[in-house]
């Protein structure tokens, strides 16, 4: 293979407001209509400002954005961007409400659990159809609001595997439901391990948030978002989840990677024992024969969308085999529709073998992709060599 196999570990897909209706169980359609009417009635100043920004962007990018739900358009856009395969998170548009009842990246604590599950199932049904149109190239993630009902979460994971989806997205914020170090979730981790479904969180939710109407909300949200999205990571590591489920894969997506070295180093220091933590004695180690950094390298992958140069420079400390690049299509934070240019700028001086791992090979392993099947697509649309041969 001479061309680059580029796999985006962070893309988004979802129907526009309203179109999930037919995928919803009939009992929930009325509540969905009411939710849409409420959203249409208008929001606050900040929401309007964001909508205005996105309106302008829509005018510029035209039908390219419709690839969020239009299969042919999506393939065209990703072909042009050089992307051979992609992982599909919900919330295709940053403007619409996404999946019913707000269940996508940041389900609200106050939404009734049965509604969240109904909304998730509607999205998952549509997504399974959407991914079936490009089964080699689309790794769809089932949205599973596992914090309310572990048994339903296991059932939904089985449904996802049987219907061709390739991973699961769980809430990054549990909002006073059990945290992920609680063994109550063990049946769910066991199911995901058994079915080889990598478990994901994605930035977008912050816990205990006062609301967008308060002063400073945007600053607070963007200051903390990466912490909340990575928080499940140390609950799983310290909770011994990767000790009990050694083949479970956990991916932290669109959350940068700059925070990894200091976080993992600090965790190792605590595991090793220090003056400040000695009073906890063996509480750090008795259920964890490996160091936090060892579980991290074995079980965790970082969906490092739109990597900064600083992160490329830190790649050895982060773990080259941990990093999976992503373009965040069709969101505005990403590199689409200028991915190749961006990749040449950030990866230009990185050895080829490392570039290939971060841009595609690690993702191919993580999601058990059919690399031979993808080869003709790569040869047709992939960029020429990126990095230093």
């Amino acid at each position: 293979m001479t061309r680059m196999m580029i796999i985006s570990s962070d893309c988004h897909a979802g129907l526009p407001d309203g179109r999930y209706r037919e995928y919803l169980d009939p009992d929930y359609r009325e509540a969905y209509d009411r939710q849409l009417a409420r959203l249409a009635a208008g929001g606050d100043v900040l929401r309007d400002q964001v909508a205005e920004f996105l309106d302008d962007r829509e005018a510029d990018l035209a039908e390219g954005l419709n690839g969020a739900w239009d299969s042919a358009q999506r393939t065209k856009e990703l072909d042009a961007d050089g992307i051979a395969a992609e992982v599909l998170f919900p919330d295709g548009s940053t403007k619409g409400n996404g999946a019913p009842f707000g269940v996508g990246l940041h389900p609200a604590a106050h939404t009734k659990p049965d509604r969240l599950l109904a909304g998730a199932r509607a999205h998952n049904r549509w997504l399974a159809e959407f991914c079936a149109e490009e089964p080699l190239r689309r790794i769809g993630l089932a949205v599973i609001p596992c914090v309310d009902d572990v048994e339903s979460a296991c059932e939904e994971a089985r449904w996802a595997r049987e219907n061709g989806l390739g991973g699961v997205l769980i809430p990054s914020v549990w909002q006073y439901r059990p945290p992920y170090n609680d063994p109550v979730y063990d049946p769910f981790w066991a199911t995901c391990q058994e079915l080889r479904l990598p478990v994901h969180t994605h930035s977008g939710a912050v816990g205990d948030f006062g609301g967008w109407h308060l002063p400073g909300a945007a600053g607070i949200f963007t200051t903390e978002a990466s912490w909340w999205a990575s928080r499940p990571l140390w609950h799983l590591i310290w909770g011994g989840v990767f000790e009990r489920f050694p083949d479970l894969k956990f991916c932290v997506t669109e959350n940068g990677a700059w925070w990894v070295p200091s976080m993992v180093t600090r965790m190792d220091a605590k595991w090793n024992g220090s003056h400040a933590t000695e009073r906890f004695g063996s509480a750090f180690t008795r259920h964890m024969p490996l160091k936090p950094s060892e579980y991290f390298l074995r079980n965790v992958r970082i969906g490092a969308s739109v990597m900064a140069r600083k992160e490329i420079e830190l790649r050895e400390q982060i773990g080259v085999g941990v990093i999976m690049w992503g373009n965040d299509y069709p969101h505005h934070e990403g590199t689409w529709p200028h991915t190749e240019k961006a990749l040449r700028e950030t990866f230009g001086d990185v050895p080829e073998a490392e570039t290939r791992r971060m841009l595609g090979e690690t993702a191919a392993e993580t999601y058990s992709l059919d690399v031979a099947g993808l080869a003709p697509i790569v040869e047709r649309i992939g960029p020429e060599l990126i990095g230093v041969a």
Copy 2:
């Protein structure tokens, strides 16, 4: 002044279990007795492990630990440790339950608000008496659980000032009550500004915590504690609180200082605008004419207990005038009873003027101390020059 004026910005004082009874409003004494009985009945494995560690320590340090509540003992210990003045947080012992109803460093979300206030008042009454025995040297912080009732919080702040206390401690975790960027707190910030009472958080609480009985609890707690204790900082900065209350001082205590440069730099970057945040438009700046780093340097002080060498090396980036050293007496994480040795090891190559600021002068300014009154004490007990003349 030739000797070093050492002020500890982080010490603890409080009565042992049970002895707060006489300071409690009579209506709450029965509930306090019930709480003590429940605690005495025993806890979980981790709690027992910590208690065992502290038993051993008690055997070693003997009556020195009684300085948590014994005034003469405390003065003797701090004299020997070279500390001229100190800021007194609650939870004198890391073993007992501290102030009634657990109101000290980490009030629980489920405790009834009126009980928290009653417990705080009991502690504050005792503390006011305790500080009156060494009025020049003891800066007592009133415990004020402000998140439930802002009006009572303002009253308690006035009581604190009238009774000789020198600052207030607020919960670092609001647990689904309004966050500190909510203008509902403005009357409280106004009161603290007017009365020149610096507002404090102190590490010790983590939000949305599953409990000590869960696997990995100690690792999770120590991994996140510093984030939770600093979280109010960016709520106050982004919330425009320091714009509306330019003379308010806010201190983040026993939380390290290593996290400051990257946090403040990232906040400035968001305020300046970046690709990832442009959709929020003027939401970052319309209520904040100054940059986050400018509010930080003006309004924030870091109670940097037991500084690490790494933090000393970062002092320019943190802000030399922001750092206030502390010894954490009588907790085991601190430098007591070997403070002078520890200071010579960590500050030995720092210019004298900077050392004097970090070890005492900034604290003296922050708490409006009577430096002339302290001078004879400093000359009697303070160490000889630390740092490079």
